[in-house]
Symmetry: C2
């Protein structure tokens, strides 16, 4: 560890949090890749010159943050953005009757544009910065449209976006594999709105139908915003699920 391991009179930070920070840095700079097996707790303890218990506390925090996944006897891996995890962590729309499942997507548009004031603010870039906008419709098992969503990405962080042949269903895996961007968390704001004529056409409902609007800001591991997403959802046969503990 560094020499200021010992607490100081002002601004004390526990060792295990410093360790967590330094390990998160390995995720940010890519020295630990998603899916990779990280060194054992004993190895890390030796490497960092601290006890196994302290390493464990740091890993505990990171497991709680869904950054790592441990399995007894096997080891600890960097969490991957695979379907089932994304589904559970980020997709909270579930059918009223039936299991939650990953929605299919059909892309409507993909455009390069200049960020609106709200977009620039949300993405923490200057107004007028280049962005990509993707609009797509998503459906569950049945082919009936469930929602229409607009994704806004800062072009600066997604170079050569235009080279993409197709946009996959699971974009968080795309971000990870193509640009090394890991989505670590998100914040959502929900409102009830009326379906516009355009929404109604795409979703196959009457204009004015109440829709659930989900405005998400997704953050990378450094807590910087990297994606804005507005979803307008039919909630006649599905609902947004939240568990409060």
């Amino acid at each position: 560890m560094t020499e200021d391991t010992k607490p100081r009179a002002f601004g004390f930070r526990p060792l295990y949090l410093q360790v967590r920070e330094s390990l998160v840095r390995r995720l940010i700079d890519g020295s630990w890749q998603p899916g990779q097996l990280i060194p054992s707790e004993m190895e890390l303890a030796r490497e960092l010159g601290i006890s196994q218990g302290t390493v464990r506390k740091a890993l505990d925090v990171m497991r709680a943050e869904n950054l790592l996944i441990s399995r007894q006897g096997r080891g600890t891996r960097v969490a991957e953005p695979e379907e089932s995890r994304i589904l559970f962590q980020f997709f909270h729309l579930v059918p009223d009757n039936g299991e939650r499942s990953f929605p299919n997507s059909r892309v409507l548009h993909r455009d390069r544009a200049r960020a609106s004031k709200a977009e620039a603010e949300g993405l923490n870039t200057e107004a007028g910065a280049e962005v990509w906008r993707i609009e797509r419709v998503r459906t569950l098992e049945d082919a009936k449209p469930l929602l229409i969503e607009t994704i806004t990405l800062p072009a600066a962080r997604f170079p050569e976006f235009e080279a993409l042949a197709a946009i996959p269903n699971n974009v968080y895996r795309l971000y990870s594999q193509t640009w090394g961007i890991t989505i670590g968390g998100a914040s959502e704001a929900l409102k009830a709105i009326s379906a516009s004529a355009e929404d109604a056409r795409v979703l196959g409902c009457a204009p004015g139908t109440p829709l659930l609007e989900i405005s998400r800001t997704a953050f990378d591991l450094a807590q910087a915003p990297v994606e804005l997403r507005v979803s307008r959802c039919l909630t006649e046969q599905a609902h947004y699920r939240a568990d409060l503990r």
Copy 2:
């Protein structure tokens, strides 16, 4: 501890989880009251014949569950349903501009009735069981109505409910203080709906206005459902906030 502290070939349960269970039981049966200072970790360790570290792990879990609140130097208390905590844990509607704050309430009706099929199912009672229904309007700082909500309670668990002179703003504190019922968690389902003529009249909006409908089931410490609540919310100047980690 009991004699089966040692792991058995089948169905191993760590000691600290057994400890947690036995401590939660003290909350359920009321031997530890909300707000009360519980014995120190060392005392509990002596009492249970285990190490302080194991007690600590059990308390860690309970702190994460919002059942206990510890402060260094002061001790550990049973969590209370005071405004700020309820606000943060259970009330996710926040103004688009401004701080979140506790909404005021005005009761419209209070009736004894028979549970509908859906209510009986949600409350895990037999159909036709007696319930109380409370309907109220809630507002934020400005006097403008924000939402109208219907609370359904199983009469069996709230004896002498009719004796209540008034229904306070913070009902979870009422449940705790009057009937010893602690709300430990809840599950919410959100949909977008249209304001009925009645909703519109009460909320002061046009009929057909899109409303955010929040259907909550609240659970006690034993995970049994004790309250159903349906809120229909105006989201023109407020939104439902969810953080995904």
